[in-house]
């Protein structure tokens, strides 16, 4: 029981410390919806290659001309996917470390995607005519 109390106090402190970190940006009361913080608008980059590194798509926003094939390469040790939001065309298989995924964009448009395993990883392909 002694160890128990000590462990409890320890974890109380851990919780308190963690609470500070976790809620430093004061966690909004969950009673309210959490709009995802609008990410600083990424500058579009004209390229057809996207690397996946440290759980992020880089660059997150690329522009290509219609007909271009875009290639994603997973440089992390963890698997990722390249998957359209909603009903879009991107649907990569699970990409293990070193795997690449290619997709040819035939029509102009704005294509948002994410990693289904780590949905905070998001990216966009802007296809121009």
């Amino acid at each position: 029981m002694k160890t128990l109390v000590a462990a409890q106090r320890l974890s109380l402190m851990a919780c308190a410390a963690l609470a500070l970190t976790a809620c430093g940006t004061p966690a909004q009361p969950s009673g309210m919806d959490m709009p995802s913080t609008p990410a600083a608008p990424a500058a579009p980059v004209a390229t057809n290659t996207v690397s996946i590194k440290d759980f992020a798509f880089a660059p997150p926003l690329v522009t290509v001309k219609a007909g271009t094939t875009v290639t994603w390469t997973n440089g992390d040790t963890e698997p990722h996917t390249v998957t359209s939001n909603g009903g879009g065309p991107l649907k990569s298989p699970t990409m293990n470390s070193g795997d690449t995924f290619r997709y040819t964009f035939t029509t102009p448009g704005h294509f948002d995607y994410l990693c289904t395993i780590h949905p905070f990883m998001t990216g966009t392909v802007e296809v121009t005519p």
């Binding site: 160890t3 851990a14 949905p119």
Partner: protein
Amino acid sequence: MNEPDPDGMTRRQLLRHTAWFGAAVVLTVAAGEVISHIHTPDAPVPDDPNALRFVQVSDSHIGFTGAANTAVTDSFHRAVDQVNALPYRPDFVIHTGDLTHLSTPAQFDQVRQMMGGIRAGGLFTVPGEHDSVDDAGQKYRAAFGKGSTGDGWYSFDLKGAHFIALVNTLNLEKLGHLGVDQVEFVRKDVAGLSSDTPIVVFSHIPLFAMYPQWGWGTDDAGQVLNLLRRFASVTCLNGHVHQLFTKTEGNVTFHSATTTAYPLPKPGTAPAPAPVTLPAGQLADALGIREVTYRQGPQPLAVKDVRLA
């Protein structure tokens, strides 16, 4: 949700076992808050036969092969053994998701078989995002979705408490998401309940904003929590973050569980929530299972986090 053994209880049977209440609070309640803590497995356990007692396991990630835990199957086996070695038979065991690492048929088959070795009155699951990597949860529901509705959600009553199992790992964008159908399900589900019914909510991703930058929150959780406002005691148990964390907001207490597979960094302490490889010998300290006890009365559920033996 499938029967763990021939005499395991199905959800329908559980519904019939609502006649009596349980006993025994294991934990101190400090300032209205139940503190999760790791304790030694041989610490005393309550042995009131009327207590409602269940176990939460989470994030087994069967199929993970990284350096952070090169033997996740062994770890989950130990968790199952630990549940089976408890001095009581839990009313049920809930796995709060990321059963598999990559949703392959072989991984689902393996974790299903391993879950089948659990001795408990019932067996429940909610899916993690790792369980719907490439098919919006179809393989998950084929393996574990029996008796659920919608994308895999359900509820049940046991020993005076009402349990709601939610799916917030589909239709994601940055954060967990429940969707209007599920909110509607909860609205109807709790409509007839008296406000002193203790509510327990299971989800994979936290229903509170634990660290939204890493997706550790649910964008429309507020809609469900608003529906639960009138209840005296609401306990939300989640996985996903692979570490213990407890937080109380009004009538709701949130408890993030640890994992049986590998730790993740504390919020904001690393560039990304990538698996953490601990120094040799320290992994077991980061892994564990959770025992939850409830007895009738005004006190909240007692939550006890136990290190993996």
